[in-house]
């Protein structure tokens, strides 16, 4: 059973339905729980690939890696080509995020089936699942599941007796946050250092080895079998019209019960913190939260009723859903200290390819530390925001474009704390 699961009384379960309930190393257990029924249906009823794309488009599924791009649209935008690839992004490196690990470890066949269906839909014969190197158990479980699926005829040539052929290869990352960017990930699969590519062209046009490539997140693909099996209308019965379905939320920090929960899109932050997380630890006051990881944003106690879907946090709280990570801060938590750690993380993980990010992430750390010890804190804090804005506008990839999110939101909600705090901030 995967560690870190909060409570069995989840409000809705699609992707984690079998996690903890079945033996993840047994194909029979997965099949008994419904694995590969979607694939059987597509093959038996001779459902054409375009119909699978249409069904996913109608379901309103949006990318669970954080960006929320409509999955069906991404599949449709793929350039025609004799050779196409499907890539599953399992390079889960966003701090505070371990949802993909729960799926990889808890129900790998769900992901394998999702990849097969996606490969069928876009016309790919080969798929890659790029798993971060630190996820030893995920790599083992996924490798085993792929071998089992191949032996059972769900992968390989003539899948279930049809003319459809598809296979999946596990690729292991080697420790680089930037490879979570789809173009850096593609470079890494090609055996190079993970430098992001300039976009456009997007991977859907020019991707792996120059061929049209769809890159989808683990949680996104894990939703596909249920959508194919039970239909778009069923999927839309969960969540909100603009963000249908469920989301895996990671509840961390100063809560009674840290862990993961799958809940409907649009679940209020308050429900996530108070019901699923058991409330702030020790009955203390909710000060705020960092939502979406390092590349996420802070919210204050005033925003605790925000609906957690792709659009509302942005519209109402200047925040982002991101990976679904919710790092809860109690009344004693130091926002400047957390921001310092977030900025240090970016400095460490900047790949060094483009100057705004390489030089900027280092400067952000220095400016914040100087600000917290200087006579004119306000000016330095303004400088911090200005630099992060310049990085957003000029960096090559999301890594350098992201620090503005935690910086701007931290200062918007907690500026007074930055102006008055006496917390010494320093390296380990």
């Amino acid at each position: 059973m995967p560690r870190g699961k909060t409570d069995p009384k989840d409000s809705a379960r699609i992707v984690l339905a079998n996690c903890g309930a079945i033996d993840p190393e047994s194909l029979d257990a997965a099949v008994a729980a419904g694995a590969y029924e979607g694939l059987r249906k597509v093959i038996a009823e001779r459902i054409p690939p375009q119909a699978v794309v249409d069904e996913v488009t109608r379901s309103g599924l949006r990318g669970r890696g954080g960006a929320g791009f409509p999955t069906g649209k991404k599949w449709s935008l793929t350039a025609p080509g004799a050779v196409k690839y499907l890539v599953c992004n399992a390079d889960e490196g966003e701090p505070g995020t371990f949802k993909d690990r729960l799926i990889l470890e808890g129900d790998p066949h769900e992901l394998v089936e999702g990849m097969i269906l996606a490969g069928y839909a876009i016309g790919a014969r080969e798929g890659f699942v790029y798993i971060r190197g630190e996820y030893t158990r995920s790599i083992e479980r996924m490798t085993r599941a792929i071998d089992q699926a191949r032996a059972a005829g769900f992968l390989g040539e003539r899948i279930l007796g049809s003319d459809f052929a598809f296979d999946v290869v596990v690729k292991r990352g080697a420790g680089a946050y930037v490879c979570g960017d789809e173009t850096a990930l593609i470079e890494s699969i090609e055996g190079k250092r993970g430098f992001p590519r300039l976009k456009p062209p997007y991977p859907g046009q020019v991707g792996l080895w120059g061929h049209p490539t769809v890159v989808n997140n683990v949680e996104t693909l894990a939703n596909v079998p249920a959508i194919v099996r039970r239909g778009a209308a069923w999927f839309r019965s969960f969540g909100t019209p603009a963000s249908p379905g469920t989301k895996v939320f990671l509840i961390l920090g100063d809560v009674e019960r840290p862990g993961a929960i799958e809940a409907e899109m649009g679940t209020p932050l308050r429900t996530i913190v108070e019901e699923y997380g058991g409330g702030v630890r020790g009955g203390r006051r909710f000060k705020g939260a960092l939502i979406g990881g390092a590349a996420g944003a802070f919210v204050s106690e005033k925003q605790i009723d925000v609906a957690m879907d792709f659009d509302t946090p942005k519209a109402q709280a200047g925040a982002v859903l991101g990976s679904g990570s919710v790092l809860v801060l109690d009344e004693d938590a130091s926002v400047p200290k957390l921001l310092d750690e977030v900025l240090e993380f970016f400095e460490h993980e900047s790949c060094g390819q483009c100057t705004p990010c390489r030089a900027g992430t280092a400067q952000l750390v220095r400016i914040l530390r100087r600000a917290l010890t200087s006579e004119r804190r306000g000016e330095d804090l303004d400088r911090l925001v200005a630099l992060a804005q310049a990085m957003r506008d000029t960096s090559l990839c999301p890594l350098g474009q992201s620090p503005i999110l935690p910086i701007e939101s931290a200062l918007r909600h907690f500026r007074d704390e930055f102006l008055t705090c006496a917390v010494p901030v320093g390296r380990l």
């Binding site: 560690r3 870190g4 889960e92 490196g93 966003e94 701090p95 505070g96 995020t97 371990f98 690990r101 971060r132 190197g133 630190e134 996820y135 030893t136 158990r137 690729k171 292991r172 990352g173 080697a174 420790g175 680089a176 946050y177 890494s188 699969i189 090609e190 055996g191 190079k192 250092r193 993970g194 990671l250 509840i251 961390l252 920090g253 840290p258 862990g259 993961a260 960092l290 390092a294 990570s325 790092l327 938590a333 200290k337 957390l338 750690e341 977030v342 993380f345 460490h348 993980e349 790949c351 380990l428």
Partner: protein, 160 residues
Amino acid sequence: MEREEVAVRHVMERYPATRTNLLEILHEIQRAEPRHYLSEASLQAVAEYLRMPLAEVMDAASFYSMYSLTPRGRHVVRVCVSPPCRLFGGEALLKALKERLGVEVGQTTADGAFTLETSSCLGACGNAPALMIDGELFDDVTDAKAAEIIYRVRREDATR
């Protein structure tokens, strides 16, 4: 030296000689090497096997944090220093481990048993703090639990 070369060749030949297998080959060579690192001789052998310039092999090997270009201990301890882990015990855990092992981050204990490293995130944030030894993840790591893990690894080494 010769035996090492044979070992490297043995690892490489399990993979087709195409560049997409570079990261996997480097992982496996590093794992098989007793000091868990990528020597210049190994990288040279990989370059020849994949018919790539050595510079391009180095380019990748030096980029990823899980590869080491210098010799390490028999066991590599990686403490998670992601922002959530640090806030919830990771900082104290790292400090305790430095004292227990008598090394700074990046150093190896005098007996060659442990190298202490950090990781940007191990994905165990719900059970912080976390550390990894030789690919095995431990979470909810208290100082006592860390001591027990280190003791266990030392004892296993002694009986080997």
